[in-house]
């Protein structure tokens, strides 16, 4: 929470990722309540429907679950689940563009490997 929203990605995706980041950082623990969509909307001055879209994605993925009349909670195993998903997307999110830039600059794969190995 409390990150600044940027224009780089859709707002609802940023809300989703912020909650995920907080779960990874143990700011939100499993079985703890997460802020409601209204609370999120007020905190970030965004439309509640946008906040809800981000939260609902997490519910669909099983990272959060709803307790009727009480609110949204972090599911058991959420942290592991988020890490596994991010590992799956790691190549697309980080490596692909790194390799494209390296190609542009004529950096070979071996040079890249050396960079990683020596740091």
């Amino acid at each position: 929470m409390n990150e600044i929203l940027t224009q780089e990605k859709s707002i609802y995706i940023q809300i989703k990722e912020m909650i995920e980041n907080d779960i990874l950082r143990d700011i939100l623990l499993e079985e703890e309540r997460v802020p409601s969509t209204n609370e999120l909307a007020k905190l970030y001055a965004i439309n509640p429907a946008t906040a809800a879209k981000g939260v609902n994605l997490l519910v669909d993925e099983g990272v959060l679950y709803k307790k009727r009349g009480i609110g949204m909670f972090v599911a058991a195993g959420a942290k592991q689940q988020i890490m596994a998903k991010r590992r799956e997307h790691f190549y697309d999110d980080y490596v692909r563009s790194l390799m494209a830039e390296a190609a542009r600059l004529g950096i070979t794969k071996n040079e890249l490997i050396a960079m990683i190995r020596d740091n």
Binding site: K9, A41, A45, I46, N47, T50
Partner: protein, 293 residues
């Protein structure tokens, strides 16, 4: 769920068609943003939708009932127009508290407690005469009226004009809070697009008297990209797509692309693809180069 529907709205002043055949539907429980260049017709549209101004042709209905001079419909509508120090509006000598008292008569659901709370929130001196208020304070009065009206469909015309950034952020938070609590529909016109874009569920762009587009804000931003790089590569990537505001500098080119459902950029080219802010998108769509006279 309530619907405010405008059908074929045309407004002519003399020989000038300020609005031409405008049709749109506003639903309850939404926050809409209304953006457009100066003179596009935003204020006229807001005043016609809120039954403060008669259309030359066309109708405005609330759940099927015409709104014009209809007390029942009017009780659900509020138009908080932009007040400015020079316009007078017949209220130069009036004090703020008198202006708010009049508002309480106009709006049957007026919430006195909320008005009092907002006046304190904005540090407004209610004993001050309207003519003596700064531009910013006039905006605050507009906001108090809009929020305390408790109308189901509330129209705000440039509510943040003249407000400093702290006051503007306060307004956006107050709006979201009130929306959270009541689900009232707000239609907000503004020139300060970027900071407000996050609260608009849908954005309506008015251009030269017509609705240019009305779309879910997030979906609109997701389908617009800015492509830049070598001119030939940019042309190849964007072939056959809807393009706006092409700019060239030397061998490079930048262009804004609006993708239709199912369309994608061609792959395999070394170009930079970036998201646009609503502000930049609006400038690309309604800028000078886009005018068709």
């Amino acid at each position: 769920m309530s619907k405010l529907t405008g059908t074929g709205i045309t407004k002519t002043y003399g020989t000038n068609d300020v609005l031409q055949d405008v049709s749109l539907e506003l639903e309850s429980g939404r926050i809409y943003g209304l953006i457009g260049r100066n003179g596009a017709g935003k204020t006229t549209l807001l005043s016609i939708l809120s039954a403060q101004n008669p259309a030359t042709r066309g109708t405005v209905t609330l759940d099927g009932e015409t709104v014009w001079e209809n007390p029942q419909a009017l009780s659900h509508l509020c138009f908080s127009r932009e007040l400015n120090p020079t316009s007078g509006n017949g209220m130069t000598a009036m004090k703020v508290k008198e202006y708010l008292e009049i508002a309480s008569v106009f709006y049957p659901h007026w919430d006195r407690e909320m008005a009092k709370r907002l006046v304190e929130e904005f540090h407004l001196d209610v004993k001050k005469r309207m003519a003596k208020l700064s531009k910013g304070m006039l905006s605050m009065v507009t906001i108090v009226v809009a929020l305390a009206s408790c109308a189901d469909f509330t129209f705000l015309d440039e509510p943040v004009a003249g407000l400093d950034i702290v006051a503007r952020e306060k307004f956006y938070r107050l709006l979201v809070e009130e929306f959270n609590e009541t689900g009232r529909t707000f239609v907000v016109s503004t020139h300060i697009i970027e900071e407000a874009s996050d609260i608009f569920e849908e954005v309506i762009i008015v251009d030269q008297g017509r609705i240019y587009l009305k779309e879910n804000t997030q979906e609109l931003l997701e389908r617009c990209v800015h492509v830049s790089g070598r001119e030939e590569d940019v042309d190849a990537v964007t072939a056959g797509l809807e393009k706006h505001q092409e700019e060239r500098l030397g061998r490079s080119k930048g262009v804004t692309v609006m993708l239709k459902p199912g369309q994608r950029l061609a792959a395999g080219y070394d170009v930079t693809v970036q998201r646009l802010s609503l502000q930049k998108l609006f400038a690309a769509l309604c800028g000078e180069e886009e005018r068709h006279e």
